[in-house]
């Protein structure tokens, strides 16, 4: 008789702990997912420089320009043609100048911008292509440059 009673009872597992754990895992992955990585062109191999410092953006305004292995200039996922690069920089510099003045980062009487230009270039990029970016940025008033590199080789 007692055996027949146990057959009728249903065992319901307590799902609350497992749900808690899953939510904690989701929270972890949401926090460590870096959505800024979308700005990075991953189709390139950066040079390896042992003493390259880790990136600490702080409150500095930054602008990231990629030069990939196909010698294309990319910003985010957008490829900028070489002939459009000059006008794009002029427009970007004007926007940066307005932003910096609004944030009181620069004075009215100076042309130097404090926005940091981050250059990520494939290691096979020639200096000719790199210099196009640097000179154009310098002509528009950008003075701070950072050149990205890997701290250690992959693998």
């Amino acid at each position: 008789m007692s055996g027949s009673l146990s057959n009728k009872s249903s065992a319901e597992p307590n799902l609350t702990p497992i749900l808690d754990m899953v939510f904690q895992l989701i929270t972890f992955f949401m926090l460590v997912t870096n959505f800024k990585n979308n700005l990075i062109d991953k189709n390139m191999e950066l040079p390896v420089v042992g003493t390259a410092r880790s990136v600490d953006p702080g409150e500095m305004l930054q602008l990231l320009v990629n030069i990939n292995a196909k010698h294309e200039y990319t910003v985010g996922s957008r490829v900028i043609a070489k002939e459009d690069f000059g006008p794009w920089i002029k427009q970007t510099a004007a926007q940066s100048r307005m932003t910096e003045r609004r944030l009181e980062r620069i004075k009215e009487d100076t042309d130097d911008l404090t926005t940091e230009i981050i250059v990520r270039a494939d290691k096979s990029t020639s200096f000719r292509d790199l210099n196009v970016v640097v000179r154009a940025m310098q002509d528009e008033g950008f003075r701070r440059f950072s050149f990205r590199a890997m701290e250690k080789a992959k693998g």
Partner: protein, 183 residues
């Protein structure tokens, strides 16, 4: 009355299975799309434009953008990086341009990066060093990874023997390919 009592005694149990399914789907999404960011570092520097360095002499005016010699007449330490056709570093030499001098004076050829490091340390590290800026004239074909090795050495140098006194600025100038340095 009996109905009210029956309702009060009922226990409402949430069905967590549906929520758990959804949570697992979210978890699967994040696990599959998770890609740890590569460990990237950077070399930061202040880079003033090279053209205002030109001296008003020999028909050139200061600030002229198209000058091939942007470092004349300044206490400038110049590094010439000549590139091979395949983009590698072919020849590395160090020189100076002192006031009153119209020609570049090549001080020496550095056979390698370690030699360049030693030479820069020797030239910039003295308390009475005449140099206050460094200009790197780079061959057009030189690859980015080769240039970064030299820039790494330059940014680590201190001026005047004080380790806290780093180079105030570094300029990059595109060199004429095939032309010997100093000409």
């Amino acid at each position: 009355m009996s109905r009210k009592r029956a309702k009060k005694s009922e226990e409402v149990e949430l069905n967590l299975a549906a929520m758990l399914d959804m949570a697992f789907q979210l978890l699967t999404f994040f696990i599959l799309t998770f890609k740890p960011a590569p460990v990237e570092g950077q070399i930061s520097m202040r880079m003033p434009p090279p053209h205002p360095l030109a001296l008003a002499s020999g028909g050139q005016s200061a600030g002229e953008k198209d000058t091939n010699d942007p470092v004349k007449g300044f206490n400038t330490l110049a590094i010439w990086l000549d590139s091979a056709p395949d983009g590698t570093l072919d020849r590395l030499s160090v020189g100076s341009i002192l006031p009153g001098s119209n020609d570049r004076q090549e001080i020496g050829i550095a056979p390698g990066l370690q030699a360049l490091k030693d030479k820069l340390k020797d030239m910039l590290g003295k308390p009475d060093t005449p140099f206050d800026q460094v200009v790197i004239q780079v061959g057009s074909n030189l690859r980015y990874d080769e240039l970064m090795k030299v820039m790494e050495i330059c940014t680590k140098q201190s001026v005047g023997g004080d380790p806290r006194n780093k180079l105030p600025g570094l300029s990059l100038v595109e060199g004429v390919e095939g032309a010997p340095p100093g000409k």
